[in-house]
């Protein structure tokens, strides 16, 4: 029996001729899942900040880009096992610092003002990076072992490709446990529903918001390490397109929902890879935005979105 007779595998054939071998197909799937994992980690940052501030943090993609530069400089002078935590800490400080300086003073301002502030921070980071590091792409350092190529059956991929989805799922599991089963998570859920009542419980709103930004930034830093290890260069606008894509992933999954952001991230990563593999790489970026438009038209709350997002 030829594979052609099984409908599922018919996609590999065109007019009876083989287009893609099963191995190539699985190889592309792996690439897509891996890219999706990195997207998921970044998308979580968008969705969590939206959940707690009802703000689309346009600077998030640029925090991710800055994490790329932090890694370049950390690895230049430190061994990798120290450089990694340093990058996580510095990125977290950047994310929390941006919230303090650019968003916190606008806590009672109209939402549009905060959004404009976020766009401003995004441009500021891009221009600052251009000024400090020039617009030329800089080579991304290699953490030993991450680029080592492994064989799994007929598949061959670097360690980072296997690691990304696994690490993503572990981090998501930890995050959901934190949110559902710890006091800190309870405070985050309460603040994202109702500031006033949360503060009547004794919850420090500003501290809870800072923690949310810290978590989003740590995940963006991890995502950045995984993503740039594969891409090999960083430049000042490295964050803008992935940032927009991850924002779309968060909207796709239902902004405010963490599982939604993860599923959205994986779907966008895989969809994009599938288009590239099918020879439509020119359209792979447009694909994301077509999804955004379709989702906004058909199901604005996304796959897992809350039905009512208005704050009491």
């Amino acid at each position: 029996m030829s594979l052609y007779s099984i409908p599922m595998f018919r996609i590999f054939y065109f007019k009876g001729k083989s287009l893609m071998s099963l191995t190539t197909f699985l190889q592309q799937c792996l690439t897509g899942i891996s890219l999706g994992g990195a997207y998921a980690l970044i998308a979580i940052g968008y969705t969590m900040v939206y959940g707690i501030l009802r703000l689309i943090n346009f600077a998030h993609g640029d925090i991710f880009m800055m994490a790329g530069y932090f890694m370049i400089f950390a690895m230049a002078s430190l061994p990798w096992f120290i450089a990694l935590p340093v990058v996580l800490i510095v990125t977290t400080a950047l994310g929390v610092g941006i919230e303090r300086v650019a968003y916190k003073p606008l806590r009672s301002a109209p939402r549009m003002s905060v959004m404009i502030s976020a766009i401003g921070v995004s441009y500021l980071l891009q221009n600052l990076a251009t000024y400090l590091f020039t617009a030329l792409p800089m080579g991304y350092p290699e953490v030993p072992g991450l680029k080592k190529v492994y064989q799994l059956g007929g598949l061959s991929a670097s360690f980072v490709t296997f690691l990304t989805p696994v690490l993503t799922l572990i981090l998501v599991y930890l995050l959901i446990t934190l949110i559902q089963h710890t006091k800190m998570g309870m405070a985050m859920r309460a603040v994202s529903k109702d500031y006033e009542t949360a503060s009547l419980m004794g919850i420090d709103i500003n501290r809870t918001i800072s923690i949310t930004f810290a978590i989003g930034s740590i995940l963006a830093a991890v995502g950045s390490i995984l993503y740039f290890t594969d891409r090999m260069t960083v430049f000042p606008f490295s964050g803008s397109l992935p940032g927009m894509k991850c924002f779309v992933a968060a909207v796709f999954g239902g902004i405010g929902s963490i599982p939604g952001a993860v599923v959205g991230g994986f779907l966008i990563g895989m969809g994009e890879t599938a288009l590239v593999a099918a020879g439509y790489s020119t359209f792979s970026d447009a694909f994301t935005f077509v999804i955004l438009i379709v989702i906004l038209l058909v199901r604005p709350t996304g796959l897992f979105g809350e039905k009512t997002t208005n704050k009491v």
């Binding site: 006091k183 859920r189 309460a190 009542t197 419980m201 004794g202």
Partner: protein, 235 residues
């Protein structure tokens, strides 16, 4: 003792509370009654720290708390059970109860048991999402949640709003019980002036941002003006 001295509250250019002073002695039940828009909720929200006072002072046991952040006031023993219940709808009943004890780090088992003795209905509904409770159950949950911080002073903003008379009775008897058995000071706002005056040791009447009358609950119940204005009885 909670002391409010010459408190003024503005919203934009509008003065909602125009310089009021009153005391809430320890272990007492004090009520604020008055028509809609008199400034009762504003007063309680300012004591809780949700609204800024434009002038005047609020002090607790001699300490000035006028500008303390609201979360800190909970730690000082002042808790507000807000107007309209405001339970967290997508948390379970138990989570709502636990979040009331957010600032405490000790073991909650006994306290939760006590709460369930006070509100047996909440025990049955332990795992239900708070948003799916009936209005009366949500009100009980809101009171239970406020109690979990072990407050010295519990402020209640219209706990009987929208509830059937029998449930109102139940809520009031629980409020009395909390005051008697735990010694918790109660500061209560009510539209249901009759019920409120019956339980109150001391009562203040607010009209358009001013306190116009005060006395013990029994005195105001017997006052002809109050009877006419708030108790629906003819002079």
């Amino acid at each position: 003792m909670l002391k409010v001295d010459d408190l003024k509250i503005h919203y934009g250019g509008i003065e909602a509370v125009k310089g009021i002073s009153f005391d809430v002695p320890d272990h007492s039940i004090v009520t604020l009654i008055g028509a809609n828009g008199a400034g009762k909720s504003s007063t309680l929200r300012t004591i809780a720290g949700l609204v800024k006072a434009s002038s005047g002072t609020i002090s607790l046991d001699g300490e000035d708390i006028t500008n303390m952040p609201s979360a800190k006031r909970v730690g000082k023993g002042i808790v507000l059970c807000p107007e309209g219940r405001r339970v967290f709808p997508d948390m379970t009943v138990l989570e709502n109860i636990k979040i009331g004890a957010y600032l405490r780090n000790d073991d909650l088992t006994d306290d939760i048991e006590n709460i369930y003795n006070l509100f047996p209905r909440l025990k049955e509904r332990n795992w239900q999402l708070a948003g799916t409770l009936s209005g009366g159950e949500q009100q009980m949950l809101a009171v239970a949640r406020s109690l979990m911080s072990n407050p010295e002073i519990m402020m209640l903003d219209e706990p009987s709003l929208g509830l059937a008379p029998i449930v109102v009775q139940e809520i009031f008897s629980i409020i009395k019980k909390i005051n008697k058995e735990r010694g918790t000071t109660i500061l209560l706002i009510e539209q249901n002036a009759n019920m409120a005056l019956k339980v109150a040791d001391k009562a203040y009447v607010m009209e358009t941002g001013r306190i116009t009358l005060s006395g013990t609950g029994a005195e105001l119940l017997a006052n002809d003006d109050i009877k006419a204005a708030y108790l629906g009885k003819k002079k």
